[in-house]
C-alpha cells in the first residue's frame, strides 16, 4: 500500500489536501491510540481530515480487553519490564560507543588514521543497533507466541470490529503520540495485515512506527544531552528511511558533529526531518520527497533533497 508521511499536523494541517492529492474518496479510518487517555479528544483531527472519519479507538478497545482478560495485561507488563531491562543494557553500551565515535570526529592525529578509526567506531554503533533490534525482536517473538493475539478469544471480537471499520474505509490516518503505546496497539489488532491496498497517511509518532526501525531522539532533554536510541523495529510498511518529527525543535541541526553521527549511524537509511509542511511518499519501492524536503547528511549538513 502507498504510505505518505507528513510533518506534525496540529498547527498547520496538510492531511486534508494530502487525502485529496491521493484521490481518496470516502470515509477515513483514524488511529489516535498514541494519545492514550486523550484518544477520543479528536474533534480537531476530524476537522483537519474533513469528511467522514471513523476513529478505530484502539486504546479504548484495548483497555476493555484488559478488563476482560487481565492475563493479557499482566503479560504485556512483563514484556514491558523485560524491554526496559534490555534498553537499559543497550543504553549502557550505546553511550560508550557513541562517545568514542564522537571523540574521533575531533582528534588532532593524522586525518587518514582518524578516519579509519572513526569508520570502525561508527560501524560498532551500527552493529550495536542491529544487535539491539535482534534482542528486542527475540523478546517480542516470545511474548507474541504467549499472547497469540490472532487466536486469543478476548481479542477476537474487537479485532473483527476494527477489521470491519477499516474494510469500509478508503484510507487510514495514523496520528502520533506515545510511539510504544501506539506500536503495541497496532500490533495487538494486526493493523499491518488489515490495511490492504488503501493509502496510509501518518505523521509524527505515527510516521515513526510504520518504518523498519524506530529511532527515539531528543538533543536537549532536561536531564542532559544523550544519544538517539533505537527503540525497536516498526511495522515495516515503509522502508529505507527514518522520519524525525519536530526535527527543528528536537534536534540540534546546527551541530554538525551530532548530525554527522546520526546520519552516518543510520546509513544506508535516509534520515528525513519531518517538520511542519513536510511530506514524503513511499510507493512500496522508492521515496518521493515533496519540494522543500530536507535530509540529514553525512557531512553534518541538513540539505534540500535532490
Amino acid at each position: 500500500m502507498p504510505v505518505t508521511l507528513l510533518g506534525p499536523q496540529r498547527h498547520s494541517p496538510t492531511v486534508q489536501q494530502t487525502l485529496h492529492s491521493l484521490g481518496v474518496r470516502g470515509p477515513v479510518a483514524a488511529i489516535t491510540a498514541g494519545w492514550e487517555e486523550r484518544e477520543l479528544e479528536d474533534d480537531e483531527l476530524e476537522a483537519h481530515l474533513g469528511g467522514v472519519t471513523r476513529n478505530l479507538e484502539l486504546w479504548e478497545r484495548c483497555d476493555r480487553v484488559f478488563d476482560a482478560d487481565p492475563d493479557l495485561r499482566e503479560t504485556l507488563w512483563r514484556r514491558h519490564d523485560r524491554l526496559v531491562e534490555v534498553r537499559r543494557l543497550y543504553r549502557l553500551r550505546l553511550n560508550h560507543a557513541m562517545d568514542a565515535a564522537r571523540e574521533l570526529l575531533d582528534r588532532p592525529e593524522d586525518p587518514d588514521l582518524v578516519a579509519a578509526e572513526f569508520e570502525g567506531a561508527i560501524d560498532a554503533v551500527r552493529r550495536l543497533d542491529r544487535e539491539h533490534l535482534d534482542r528486542v525482536a527475540e523478546v517480542n517473538e516470545a511474548f507474541e507466541a504467549e499472547i497469540d493475539a490472532p487466536n486469543r478469544p478476548s481479542l477476537a471480537g474487537p479485532r473483527k470490529e476494527v477489521a470491519e471499520i477499516l474494510g469500509d474505509s478508503a484510507a487510514l490516518a495514523i496520528a502520533g503520540g506515545h510511539v510504544a503505546v501506539l506500536l503495541n496497539r497496532l500490533r495487538l489488532f494486526g493493523i499491518a495485515d488489515l490495511v490492504g491496498d488503501r493509502p496510509v497517511i501518518a505523521w509524527s509518532g505515527g510516521a515513526m512506527v510504520l518504518g523498519e526501525r524506530i529511532v527515539l531522539f531528543h538533543d536537549s532533554p532536561p536531564q542532559g544531552r544523550g544519544h538517539a536510541e533505537v527503540l525497536e523495529a516498526g511495522l515495516g510498511l515503509h522502508r529505507g528511511a527514518v522520519p524525525f518529527p519536530h526535527a527543528r525543535r528536537r534536534l540540534l541541526l546546527d551541530d554538525r558533529e551530532r548530525v554527522t553521527l546520526l546520519a552516518r549511524r543510520l546509513e544506508p537509511l535516509l534520515a528525513i526531518p519531518m517538520d511542519e509542511g513536510a511530506r514524503a511518499d513511499w510507493n512500496g519501492a522508492e521515496w518521493w520527497l515533496a519540494p522543500g524536503a530536507r535530509l540529514l547528511e553525512a557531512d553534518g549538513s541538513v540539505r534540500a533533497a535532490s
Binding site: 487517555e37 502520533g176 503520540g177 510511539v179 510504544a180 509518532g205
Partner: protein, 376 residues
C-alpha cells in the same frame, strides 16, 4: 563600592531620597555587586544573611543627614540569597523583612527576603501552569506500629490517575514542607505535563520527632520499608520494583534517605539527596551540636562500609551552605559504591527554594519521562 554608592552618599534631603528610591527595585543589582538599602529611623541597621563564608552580620552605612542606610556585597552571578535586616532603634532590636523588597521565601520558621543577583532565573516550571492538568493530593491517615502513633501522609496522584495503570513511586521526607515551600505539587504537575517525568505517585511523609527520626534512625528505616511501603503498594497501583522506587529528602531528610537506603539496600533504586546534613569526622569530635551525634555516627559507619545503597543518586548542595564541604567530600565515596551519581551545586543556601530549583534536574534525571517516546 557599587555604582549606586556615590549617588547614595550624595543624597542630602528627604526629597532627594524619595527621588532616588522612586521606581527602583531593591536590592540594587549592578553586575556582581548588590546594594541593600533601608530607609527609616534607627540607631543601627545590619544585613543578616545565610551565606556561609561571609560574616553573617554586616552593618549598613547611614547616608549623612538622611534616614537612608545601605551596604554593598559582592555576589557572583546566578546567586540567590535569603536575608533579613536587623534594625536597632531606641534599644529595641528586631529582625525584619526588607520593606523595599517584595520578594519573599517562606520556610517552617517564617519568611525571609530574597535577593537574586544577575543571571538568576526563576524556574518557570515551578509556577502553576494553567495548561498543566493538575494531580490530586490526598491525605492518608496511617497508624504506625513502629512508632505507635498516628501519622498523616499526603499522597500525590497524577492527573488522569487510573487504577488500571502502574506507576513509579517516590517517597519524600518533610513532604508538607516540600508542598508548602518548594511548590512540589506544581513542579510535579508541570514536569508530568511536559513529559519530563512519568506520571508517578509521590508519598509525602512527615515526621513527628524530626531530629530523632531523621537522624539516621534504624526505626525510621523500618517504618518506611516494612510498614509504609507495603501499605502504599497494597493501596495504590505501583510497579513495585526497586528501579521504579525513589526516596528523597533535604538536610536531615537527606540523611534519613541515605541511611534508609544504606540499611535497606535494593529497596529504593533512586535517591535524591538535597543539601544532606552529612556531618562526619576523620578523627575526634564534631562541632555541630548534639543533634548531629547519631548522624556523625552513621556517616562514619557509612564511610567505613558504604555498600551500594541504590543504583542512582542525584546529589545537590548550595555553595553558600556550610554543608557544601561535606557534600563535596562525599561525592567520590558515593561514586565508589557503584551508584550512578549526578552532583549539582548552586549559588544558594540551605533553604526550600534552593531545593525547589534543583527538582527539575534531579527528578527528570532519576525518573526520565516519556519525552523520548512521545511525538505529537
Amino acid at each position: 563600592m557599587t555604582a549606586a554608592s556615590p549617588s547614595l552618599r550624595a543624597l542630602r534631603t528627604s526629597e532627594e531620597v524619595d527621588a532616588f528610591l522612586d521606581g527602583k527595585s531593591f536590592p540594587l543589582v549592578d553586575g556582581d555587586r548588590v546594594t541593600f538599602v533601608f530607609r527609616g529611623e534607627a540607631d543601627t541597621v545590619a544585613l543578616r544573611h545565610w551565606i556561609f563564608g561571609l560574616t553573617s552580620r554586616q552593618e549598613l552605612e547611614r547616608v549623612e543627614g538622611t534616614d537612608l542606610w545601605f551596604t554593598t556585597l559582592d555576589l557572583p552571578r546566578e546567586s540567590r540569597v535569603e536575608y533579613k535586616l536587623e534594625v536597632t532603634h531606641g534599644g529595641d532590636t528586631r529582625w525584619i523583612l526588607d520593606p523595599l523588597n517584595p520578594h519573599r521565601a517562606h520556610d517552617p520558621f517564617g519568611a525571609n527576603s530574597v535577593c537574586h543577583s544577575d543571571g538568576y532565573v526563576f524556574p518557570e516550571w515551578a509556577q502553576e501552569d494553567p495548561d498543566a492538568r493538575p494531580g490530586d493530593v490526598e491525605s492518608l491517615r496511617f497508624h504506625s506500629t513502629t512508632f505507635h502513633d498516628e501519622r498523616t501522609i499526603r499522597v500525590y496522584l497524577p492527573a488522569r490517575f487510573r487504577r488500571r495503570a502502574r506507576y513509579p513511586l517516590l517517597v519524600a521526607h518533610d513532604g508538607d514542607d516540600y508542598l508548602r515551600f518548594s511548590g512540589m505539587k506544581a513542579v510535579l504537575d508541570n514536569l508530568i505535563h511536559r513529559l519530563e517525568i512519568p506520571p508517578m505517585i509521590v508519598a509525602l511523609t512527615n515526621p513527628i520527632d524530626r531530629l530523632t527520626e531523621y537522624a539516621a534512625s534504624e526505626r525510621h528505616a523500618a517504618f518506611l520499608v516494612d510498614e509504609l511501603l507495603p501499605h502504599l503498594e497494597s493501596t495504590f497501583p505501583l510497579i513495585g520494583t526497586p528501579s521504579t522506587r525513589g526516596l528523597m529528602g533535604a538536610s536531615f531528610g537527606a540523611v534519613a534517605t541515605l541511611s534508609t537506603a544504606w540499611r535497606r539496600p535494593d529497596v529504593f533504586g533512586k535517591l535524591l539527596l538535597q543539601s544532606g546534613s552529612f556531618g562526619f569526622t576523620d578523627i575526634g569530635d564534631h562541632q555541630r551540636g548534639p543533634a548531629f551525634d547519631p548522624v556523625v555516627e552513621f556517616m562514619n559507619a557509612f564511610r567505613a562500609d558504604p555498600g551500594r545503597p541504590a543504583s542512582k543518586a542525584f546529589v545537590s548542595c548550595g555553595v553558600y551552605e556550610s554543608l557544601i564541604y561535606e557534600n563535596r567530600s562525599m561525592l567520590p565515596m558515593f561514586q565508589s559504591t557503584g551508584m550512578e551519581v549526578r552532583y549539582v551545586e548552586a549559588r544558594d543556601g540551605h533553604n526550600w527554594e534552593n531545593w525547589r530549583d534543583r527538582l527539575r534536574e534531579g527528578l527528570s534525571w532519576l525518573f526520565p519521562g516519556p519525552l523520548w517516546m512521545v511525538y505529537e
